[in-house]
C-alpha cells in the first residue's frame, strides 16, 4: 500500500517511520527543506520531497495519483483541509485523513466531509474518562476516542454481582465481550451469572460508559 504523508513535524516523522517499519510504501512532503533533509536521513526507505504539499504539482511528484491513503498532518489546519480536498476530489485518493490541531475546527472538517484525527480531543476525552469513571479502566480507545474497550472488576453484593446477564440493564450501545474469572475465560451468554471479583471486558460508546458503569458496579 502506498501512503502519502504531508507534513514533516513530529507527527509526520513518526508516522513515516512507523508505516515504513510496518512494510508500507511511504512518501512524505515537507515544506521546510532542513526538516525534509533530516527525515530523509533517518528514514530507511521511502521518498522524501521538500516542497509545499498544497501545491498539486508537488503532490504529483510525490506520486499522489497512485496513493491509497493521504494523511495531512501539518501544523496548519487550513493546509490540512486543502491537502485532503485536493487528494480526494482532484486526484481521487480513496482514503484521506486530516490532523486537526485546533479542536474548534473539527466540526468544520466533518461538515466538509473530511475525516479527522485530533490528538487534543483524544487526550482530553481519555483524561475526562479517567477523572469521572475511576473503577472502570479503558483498555483501548477506538474510533478516535468515541468507542472504547473497558474493563470493570465486580464488587461483592452490588451492581451485577450475583445476577444473570439477561437481567442486567445494559445501555443499548454497549456489549459484554468476555468475563475473566480467575484463570478462566468465559464468553458470556444471557444466562451467565456474574460473580464478585469477575473482570468484565466490555465494548461501549463513550456516551454510555456511565450507564454501563452503573449496571456493572451499581450506583455510587
Amino acid at each position: 500500500m502506498y501512503v502519502l504523508i504531508v507534513g514533516g513535524g513530529k507527527v509526520g516523522d513518526s508516522l513515516a517511520r512507523t508505516l515504513t517499519q510496518s512494510g508500507y510504501d511511504v512518501a512524505l512532503v515537507e515544506k521546510e527543506e532542513s526538516f525534509a533533509k533530516k527525515i530523509a536521513e533517518n528514514l530507511d526507505k521511502g521518498l522524501v520531497i521538500s516542497g509545499d504539499g498544497c501545491d498539486p504539482a508537488k503532490l504529483e511528484d510525490a506520486g499522489i495519483t497512485r496513493a491509497q491513503v493521504v494523511a495531512a498532518v501539518t501544523g496548519d489546519d487550513e493546509d490540512n483541509l486543502i491537502i485532503c480536498q485536493l487528494a480526494r476530489d482532484t486526484f481521487g485518493v480513496p482514503r484521506v485523513i486530516a490532523r486537526v490541531n485546533n479542536p474548534r475546527n473539527e466540526n468544520t472538517f466533518q461538515k466538509l466531509g473530511i475525516d479527522t484525527v485530533s490528538s487534543t480531543t483524544i487526550i482530553t476525552k481519555l483524561i475526562e474518562e479517567e477523572a469521572t469513571i475511576g473503577d472502570i479502566f479503558t483498555l483501548l480507545a477506538l474510533k478516535r476516542g468515541k468507542l472504547s474497550i473497558i474493563e470493570a472488576i465486580l464488587k461483592p453484593k452490588t451492581g451485577a454481582a450475583g445476577k444473570a446477564i439477561k437481567d442486567l440493564k445494559l445501555p443499548p450501545e454497549s456489549i459484554l465481550a468476555t468475563i475473566i474469572r480467575g484463570s478462566q475465560i468465559i464468553f458470556p451468554r444471557g444466562d451467565t451469572v456474574l460473580q464478585a471479583d469477575d473482570s468484565v471486558i466490555a465494548l461501549s460508546t463513550i456516551d454510555q460508559e456511565k450507564a454501563l458503569r452503573e449496571a456493572l458496579l451499581g450506583k455510587e
Binding site: P56, E78, L81, I82, R104, K111, L112
Partner: protein, 161 residues
C-alpha cells in the same frame, strides 16, 4: 447588505472602506489587530480580531445573517477554508475568494467557489501594458461575470463604413 470581509490587508481594507461608504454593514476580520489601522478614521463598520475561519469568530461576525463574504487574506488556504464554511455550512448567498495560486484558483472554481486569481489578472494587465499591442485583456470574475478589453484598430472598422 451585511458583508463580511476576511483579511484587512490593502485589498480588504480598501474594499471595507468603499462598501462602508456605500452604506453597507461591514464586519472585517483579521488576525493582526494592527492591520485595522489601514481602515482609517471614517470606517464605521465593525472590526474583529481573530482567525477568519474560526467558527466562533465567524458567528460573532454574523455569518448566519450575512448576505456576502469576501475572503482576501494573503493565505490562499485560509481564504478557501473560510469561503467553504460560509458557502457550504452557512449558505451565505454570495462568497468570493481571492486565490494567488492560479492553479488552485482553477481547481476550486471547479469545486464551486467563486475564485478570483489576482495573480493572473495582474499578469495579463502587465502583459498588455508592456506589449502595447491591440490588447485583449480577458479574465473572469466569479462564475457569471467577466471582463474583456479590446483596443480598436483602424483596419478593424466594419466593412462598408
Amino acid at each position: 447588505m451585511h458583508i463580511i470581509i476576511i483579511g484587512c490587508g490593502r485589498v480588504g481594507s480598501q474594499l471595507a472602506q468603499i462598501l462602508s461608504q456605500e452604506g453597507h454593514n461591514i464586519v472585517i476580520v483579521d488576525k493582526n489587530p494592527a492591520s485595522f489601522k489601514r481602515l482609517g478614521p471614517d470606517f464605521n463598520g465593525i472590526s474583529i480580531n481573530g482567525i477568519g475561519f474560526d467558527p466562533d469568530i465567524l458567528k460573532r461576525a454574523g455569518i448566519e445573517r450575512a448576505d456576502a463574504l469576501a475572503a482576501v487574506t494573503n493565505g490562499d488556504n485560509s481564504n478557501i477554508m473560510a469561503s467553504q464554511i460560509a458557502k457550504r455550512i452557512y449558505n451565505v448567498p454570495r462568497v468570493i475568494t481571492r486565490i494567488y495560486d492560479p492553479l488552485r484558483a482553477d481547481i476550486y472554481k471547479k469545486f464551486g467557489l467563486n475564485t478570483i486569481s489576482t495573480t493572473t489578472i495582474v499578469a495579463q494587465i502587465f502583459r498588455s501594458a508592456l506589449l502595447k499591442e491591440s490588447s485583449k485583456l480577458e479574465f473572469s470574475i466569479g462564475e457569471d461575470l467577466g471582463l474583456i478589453e479590446y483596443k480598436a484598430k483602424e483596419e478593424a472598422k466594419p466593412k462598408g463604413d
